[in-house]
Amino acid sequence: MQQDYPLSGIRVVEHAAGVAGAWAGRLLAAMGAEVIMIEPPSLSALRREGPMLPDGSSALFAYVAAGKRSVVCDLASTEGRGALAELLDDALILIDDTPLAERGALGLDQARIADDHPDLVHLSVLPFGAAGPKAGWKATEINLIHAGGEGYLLPNGLSADLFPERPPLKIAGHFAEMQGGVAAALSALAALWSGQGQYVDASVQDANVAVGAFALQRHGDGSVEHRHTRSFRYGGVIECRDGHVELLTLEERQWQGLVRLLGSPDWASDAALADPAERSARGTELNRAIRDWARGQEVEALVARAQELGVPMARYNTPEQVIAGAHETARGIFQPVRQSLGTAMMIQTAPFRFGPDAPRIARAAPEPGTDQELVTACQPARRVIA
């Protein structure tokens, strides 16, 4: 990589079949680390996860493997474990999400890695962590958003009003697993900072309990939430003529801006509404008026006027609107990348930046074994290509 990034010069070896581990690696790659995926002969399971592209390949893989390298090795073989050792000799971090019971056979158990590579940060990323009574439990995204407590609280607001009898709802995509990935990457870099090679046991469930911390605090002080009642007292998801907006006013001046946005209707001039507690108590009535009014509004003009008046409001952007957004374009958060099968797409490079410019992705998600020359074992003639 020509440009200097925060993690330039750091090699990471990633052996991950799930989104959490892969996302940890992806974030490190976005910050300049050289991340080498070790794929089994059956190839990364993420290559088969949706959403799928018209060319039959995985958009998820294209996104989470962008910027990485690929080596295909069978860690169940002596040769494969030799290749792993070669890669780890030059690495500072190993990311592994292999279920605990399978690690020994692949040479990935904690003790062996610590003995052979004492300076390495060995990052374990598992749904429920590597220690504790549930360490052996398995989970996919939907189990994890519920194990962390947020699933039970969703949806709230308009969806909960419309469909109170339906089951709780997950966040789209891989929210919970990605929280695990971010927390895992943070933990690995903190361990690396300490200068002490060690084993770091990250849990996706723990990461979700952490980002859902309010729930535990509310449990302690007796103000437990439920999806049917945790809606904002007024505001929230508001339907307009041509789409939906989100509206949330927390501060007094924002409420006053909202009244002006609404055209200072008679009902809003009620002196009692100057008291936030009164507004909260009469939230249903306020929201009825806001929703009735908004149905005649057009999203784009409404949002622009709201922000002018200091009223926090945003359009519910479709994916296409995010990609083509003027703000996103000005900040250059997406990078055009051509996949190996020829499909052109826009990839968000990173969720943060280290100066005025967004980080760049060094390469598209690799074909299997593209970087096989990084190891002397597992020669190309012997590897299996899909």
């Binding site: 925060p6 949706g50 592209l53 904690q110 709802l169 789209a172 309010f214 437990v224 995010v322 703000h327």
Partner: protein, 397 residues
């Protein structure tokens, strides 16, 4: 020693996302000096009626461990003191709207003049640049801007608003970027200005969908469905409002589920035996599961399914998390004692380190200005008379 022992943070953040960032770093061992003013305390120290709740929303959790000083950033001498704190810090974190720190005289250039290798972390709704950089926003707006809100929801329903998990996800990402920037400083001697836009964290979480959309794939809200898995969803059990999440990834797991359901023949039923057939018959498959789940006790069913190798977990409430032996064994849930002796449960750090001292919450919520003897006295070397004058002049205020 904890992993980040020796790192000091001048913490100007308020609200949710920023304080969560420094909360993570403080659990990892960084010394975090929270800078507030009595005139304008962190807005999360006070209640917000829109949440329908009398007390502050989350302050106790994210303020734990932090040192608190009062400082009036509207007073020129307050700015001078802020720069002196920054000069003794490795990191300066803030979460005002873009441009506010510069207007205060605390922008990146000013802080770099005070401390040439400082890592400044700015957390905002839309970032430090771009046409929307002045926009105000909270978690539901981040999700709306970033596409995550649009994609979340029942197939026949509206978008869904993201809540505090979105804020805290922004904070977790910011903490990660901060530690990465410290690594760069260690290697090069240079600090940098980390810019975290909350809406970009939201879009990063939907990044696979955005990538697919950019290649022409039209994506819709799909509720609890999964593109590859059936059955996959959240199922009612015989207990009221007690739900079982369940996900079958392959034919072997389907056979295991069929066994647990007491209907082993379903494993060989040509209508359901293979993954593609189950996806095509998703409604029928999930009706079979729902018929079974309505008769079972949720936790017992989850245990049986896990024992059989099927991914399952009860939709947990806060009480489940608070009392869970697994979470407690991992110290993912801990007890914190406040200064007044009151004990409360708090969320611990989401990973276990094999070496060094464990990340932890050592202290509860600081009172406003509780640590001024240490910060103004010991660190800055201000004498009692000088501090008294600064208090009288409403600089330390």
């Amino acid at each position: 020693m904890k992993p980040l022992s020796g790192i000091r943070i001048a913490d100007f953040t308020v609200h949710a996302a920023g304080p969560f960032c420094t909360h993570m770093l403080s659990q990892l061992g960084a010394e975090c000096i929270k800078i507030e003013s009595a005139q304008r305390p962190d807005i999360f120290r006070k209640p917000h009626a829109v949440y329908g709740r009398a007390g502050p929303a989350s302050f106790d959790q994210v303020a734990s461990n932090k040192l608190s000083v009062r400082l009036n950033l509207k007073h020129p001498q307050g700015i001078a003191l802020a720069r002196r704190i920054a000069a003794l810090s490795d990191v300066a974190a803030e979460s005002f709207r873009a441009g506010v720190m510069s207007r205060l005289g605390l922008g990146y250039d000013a802080l770099r003049a005070a401390r040439p290798d400082i890592v400044m972390v700015s957390i905002s709704s839309s970032g430090q640049s771009g046409p929307d950089s002045h926009f105000a926003g909270y978690a539901p707006l981040f999700g709306a801007w970033g596409g995550l809100g649009y994609l979340t929801g029942y197939g026949d329903g509206p978008p869904v608003e993201m809540r505090h998990v979105m804020d805290h996800s922004v904070g977790m990402n910011a903490a990660l970027a901060t530690v990465a920037a410290l690594h760069q400083r260690r290697r090069t001697g240079r600090g940098c200005h980390v810019d975290v836009a909350a809406r970009e964290v939201a879009s990063s979480i939907a990044g696979d969908a955005l990538a697919a959309a950019s290649a022409g794939v039209r994506l819709k809200r799909m509720g609890n469905a999964d593109p590859q898995r059936s059955p996959h969803g959240v199922f009612a059990t015989r207990e009221a409002d007690r739900w079982l999440s369940l996900s079958v990834s392959d034919d072997r797991e389907w056979a295991a589920l069929a066994e647990v359901m007491g209907r082993p023949g379903l494993a060989h039923d040509p209508r359901y035996a293979r993954a593609d057939a189950r996806l095509a018959a998703r409604d029928a498959v999930e009706a079979l599961v729902a018929g079974w789940s309505a008769q079972v006790e949720a936790e017992e069913a989850a245990r049986k399914l896990q024992a059989a190798g099927v991914a399952a977990h009860v939709s947990w409430r806060a009480a489940d998390i608070a009392d869970d032996p697994h979470m407690q064994a991992r110290r993912a849930v801990v007890d914190v004692t406040e200064g007044d002796g009151r004990r409360r449960k708090a969320v611990g750090f989401p990973a276990i380190f094999s070496h060094g001292d464990a990340p932890a919450i050592e202290r509860g919520t600081p009172g406003l200005g509780e640590h001024e003897d240490y910060v103004y006295g010991e660190l800055l070397g201000l004498g009692q008379a000088e501090r008294a004058r600064l208090v009288d002049d409403r600089v330390i205020y």
